[in-house]
Every structure is written in structure tokens, then in C-alpha cells.
């Protein structure tokens, strides 16, 4: 019995800077979740992850995260991934920092 596949995005951290990044449809990396490629097929998701893992000279810690379609693009589902799109809640650091927006 197959379970319904939850769409995914490929996410990782930038090797040099450490910041959270997402893989786009062209295979490039974006700082923004809504620019990520929303992958609706499990086999393709695995292939995209392999492609990411092959870029170890640019990124670190790639994995597939659950996501859903939103008006501006893919949106995270789990609260952990929501936090990764903006940064910590105690300071306006990370992506929510003015310089990064």
C-alpha cells in the first residue's frame, strides 16, 4: 500500500557562509524558500537530492523537506522549516535581518 507522497524541496546550508539555501528548478541555489523547486514526484525528489549531494564543494547537509504550494511559491510545512526560512525568534538575525531581505 503506497502512502501519498508529500511534495518536497531540496534544502541545505551554504558551505562557506553556513546560511540556509534551497535548490531551484534550474539546479541553482536560492536564499528563499519560495524560489525553490517544488518536487511532486518521489523518484524525481531522490534524483534532485542526489544532484545536490554531488555539489559538496558548494553546499553542506542537503536533505528533502516537506513543502506545499503557496501563492508566491513553495511554503514550508513543519515549524522547523518555517524557522529556517527566517532565523531565530530572539533576534532579527538570519534571513529576517534587513540586509538579507
Amino acid at each position: 500500500m503506497s502512502r501519498k507522497f508529500t511534495p518536497k524541496v531540496v534544502t541545505a546550508n551554504d558551505l562557506r557562509e553556513g546560511c540556509v539555501i534551497y535548490m531551484t528548478e534550474t539546479g541553482s541555489w536560492s536564499m528563499y524558500h519560495h524560489e525553490a523547486e517544488l518536487i511532486e514526484d518521489e523518484a524525481i525528489a531522490e534524483l534532485r537530492l542526489l544532484k545536490a549531494l554531488g555539489q559538496g564543494d558548494r553546499i553542506v547537509g542537503a536533505y528533502l523537506a516537506d513543502a506545499k504550494a503557496g501563492p508566491k511559491g513553495p511554503e514550508p510545512i513543519h515549524f522547523r522549516e518555517v524557522f529556517r526560512t527566517r532565523g531565530p525568534s530572539n533576534y532579527a538575525h538570519g534571513k529576517q535581518e534587513a540586509a538579507n531581505v
Partner: protein, 553 residues
Amino acid sequence: MYNYSDFDEAFVRTRAAQFRAQVERRLDGSLTEDEFRPLRLMNGVYLQLHAYMLRVAIPYGTLRADQMRQLAHIAETYDKGYGHFTTRQNIQFNWPKLTDLPDIIDALADVQMHAIQTSGNTIRNVTTDAFAGAAADEVADPRPVAELIRQWSTDHAEFQFLPRKFKIAITGSAEDRAVIRAHDVGLELVKRGDEIGFKVLVGGGLGRTPMLAPVIREFLPKADLLPYLEAIVSTYNLMGRRDNKYKARIKITVFENGLDTFRAAVEEEFARIRPEFSGVDQEVLAGIEAQFAPPAFKNTPVEFYEKSLAVDPLFKAWATQNLAAHKVENHAIVTVSIKEHGATPGDASADQMRLLADLADRYGYGELRISHEQNVVLPHVAKADLPAIHAELLRAGLATANVGLLSDIIACPGMDYCALATARSIPVAQEIATHFKALGLEEEIGGIKIKISGCINACGHHHVGHIGILGLDRAGVENYQITLGGDAGPLAAIGERAGPGFAYDEVVPAIERILRAYLAIRAGREETFIETFRRLGPAPFKEALYGEARDAA
């Protein structure tokens, strides 16, 4: 305080140079992440949620003023202007870039600091009482022994790949401000007649299987310490489980084999290796002890201090809460709370670090400590200087008189930073502190320890909080379990779970119900929360949390 020998200096510089080369090879693609990860972890570099994180060792929580200034410099130059003091007396920088990390490690080496063995399955930074060397109630200063253990355990060839990480804590006082019963090995300096030795505890720890360490040796002569420790760690290295990460800590080894079996194995190994310790370690220890000689304490009178207490209520409130008894009558131990209501527990800005370093230089013989409760301690201050220190702290917003009170909360970084976390801890701590300040109830409630962890690994020590809060992920939603009756001191206890968990926005009201129940049922103002809990048990607090509906269910 300890100054690096030529050996220490060469070792740390060599490791810094090796790390620089390792980072270069990672960046040019010569090393894969799988190859690089163990190397970066050996130097305290983690990958967290939003960035890399660097954990720097503060050996036994002791810092010189110039070292604190260097931490401020690093925070400002390479990070976002602050650092986070941890429950293991270390400091973490939350935003370093991999490309800057070799320079940061060099900057640390410039002031005799490093990040070696702050990660990995090795013997970690030895922690101790933040009041060590100053406390009125201690048998002896535990720091020379902590330094001896640091030298013995650093790069110890046999102990670089233990089944799991290994944490040693040592206290010189029966009051135990180092939570020794929650460590893999706990040491308490004790006296038998005129002889100083150690009570040795083994197999404590928090995490998913919290256990309080039993005593393996009631009295260990001082000269036997290193061979005995080596016997314990060797026995664990062989007997400890490597098949299951969650059963690999020494607490499980001791529990599964039984203390008697474990002790017999340790004693056998100890008897075997004891003759190999020729006494060189004791010569080294004597040299270290000389470096920890107390400063020449000033002989200033206390009249001005006493007069200030009488006329300045703000100063008096601070002195009542934030001072502890010093072994020298005209001195005091100052705990500077870096937990102003609403601040992040453990965080200090570069400016705050610099001010504290300056105060240490001007009034505190150049010494600072980081407490496991995530505050900064000036261990030796002449009472005559306290009003001046208080005035400066007031100007800098560092005079919060809340040490030991409700808002003096221990909290791990939680899911605001940590990749392992299952929920946030920091905003829960912030909201509890500001909520009770707004209610004006903090002083009325009095002494209480609230401790918050953002996952089962329990870096926030929630099991030993009088009230513990554990953040979990329940089907994709943050959920918080409350434990009651834990204690980290000499009457150490693991708190018991009160019942079903609470949603994020239900936690503060739940804590308020517990504390209002306490205020209603305590025997008097003198009876603290934990004393009321010990007298009446959890029932009235569970009732306050869940009401009668739960009993009927």
C-alpha cells in the same frame, strides 16, 4: 590562574594550523563533508539550523579579563556582536562563517583558548563550581585538579573514540554548585581527618535516560586520582555499548552491568595501572596549584559597604540576591545576572563582555567565571568596592537582582539555533520572565529554579529544575512537558513528569497555575517552592495544572 606552558602553547598552535589546512582542503574540494565533519567537530565547529556554530572551551568556567575581551572581539569581528554562555560553562558563537573559522581559532590561541574536545566522543571540558577558589564553604579549590584533568584528557590517545561523549564535573564544596550527580564522573573534594581526597561518583547524566550518579568510591586519596579516572574511562571504553547510540553513555554501562560489577572491573584495572603513575602527575599538580594561589586580597574596611546597604534599597536588593559568601570576610562573590527580564539566557553582548572584563580588572583581580546557570561571576570583590560595581552595572543594564529567582532561568538554545532541537526554549524563558515581572510576583515567589530544554538531550537540565520544561515535537506542533520536583544541588533529584504536555502558548499560564498553587499552600514565606513540593508531593501542583477533570478521567 593557569598560564599555558610551552607545551600547551605549541599544542594549541599546531592544532590551529592543522585546522586551517583542513578548512582549506574542504573549501578547495579535496575533502568531502563526510571526511571533514569529524575534523571540524574535533575543533568545536557544528552545523546548526541557520549557520555554523563554534563552541569554545572555557576550562572549568575560568576566564581572565583579557580572554573575555578577546571573546568580545571575536563576537564583534566575526559574529553578530554577542556570544552564548552554556550550561557547560562554555561559550558558543552562533554565526561564524567557515571561511573565518581558522582566524577565530587563531584569535583564541592568542589568549590561550581553543575549541578542542568541545565535541565528539571524547572527554569534554571539565566543569566546576563557578565559586571555586572563593567560596566560604569549600574544602579546597577544585580548579587545579580540573586543570590536571584537562592536561591528562586533552588528546589522550586512548580516549579519542569513546563509545560516547564523556563529561566530568568537580566540586570543592558539599553544596555542589556543579551538578556532579548528573555527570559521567562526578568528583567531590572531601576531607578524611587532615587528608584531602575525592568522593567519586560515576554514571550520572540527564538526556533521554536521566540518572543520578551513585558513589563508586567514598574516599580516593588525592594521588590516586588520575590512575583511578583512567581505570574508569578504560573500563567504560571496553564495556560501554557501541551498538546503540542511546545506550552508549557510561550511565547505561553502570546501570546494565550493575555498580558492583563495574566497580570490580575498575578496581582491577586501577590495581594494574597504578604502579605506572610514578608521581610525576603529583609534581605537575603541585606546579598547577602554585599558579592558582589566591590573589593578595585587599584589606579594605567594610563600613562603606554596610552604610550603602542601609541607605540604598536598590543596592540592598541586588546585594541580597546576587552576592555569595567569600572565604575572606571583607570580600564577596558577585554573580552578575546577564538575564535581564526578557533577555536570552546566557547571551552577552560584546559591550557587556568588555564591561565585565574591565570590572574584573579594576575590582576583581582580573578574574571572571562563567556559571553553569549561564551567568558571569566576579569571584573576588572587596565589599568596599561593591557599591561602585553596582553603580556601573546599573548604568549598563546588568544590575538585575534576580539570581536564584524565577527569571534566572537556564535554557538551551533550542530550535532557534540548534539542529537537534525539537522545539524552542529561548522565547519560553523570555516570556516566563517578563510575565512574572509584569505580575510583580517574582520576589513573592522567592527562590526557584526553572530549567528549559528544547529536546530530550536535556542541555537545559530540565530534569533537575524545580520546575522543568521540555520542548517536544508532537505531530508537527511544539508541545511542552512539565516536570516537577527536580533538584541540582546536594539533594539532587530527577523531576517527575506532571502529566500531558502543553501547547506553546499554554506554557506560561501553566507555570502561573503551579506557582499560584505554591503561594496558596506554602507554610510561609520562608518555605521555598521545592520545600513545599518535598513536603506535599506533586498532587496539589498536578491539581493546579489539570484540575479535577483529570482525576475523574
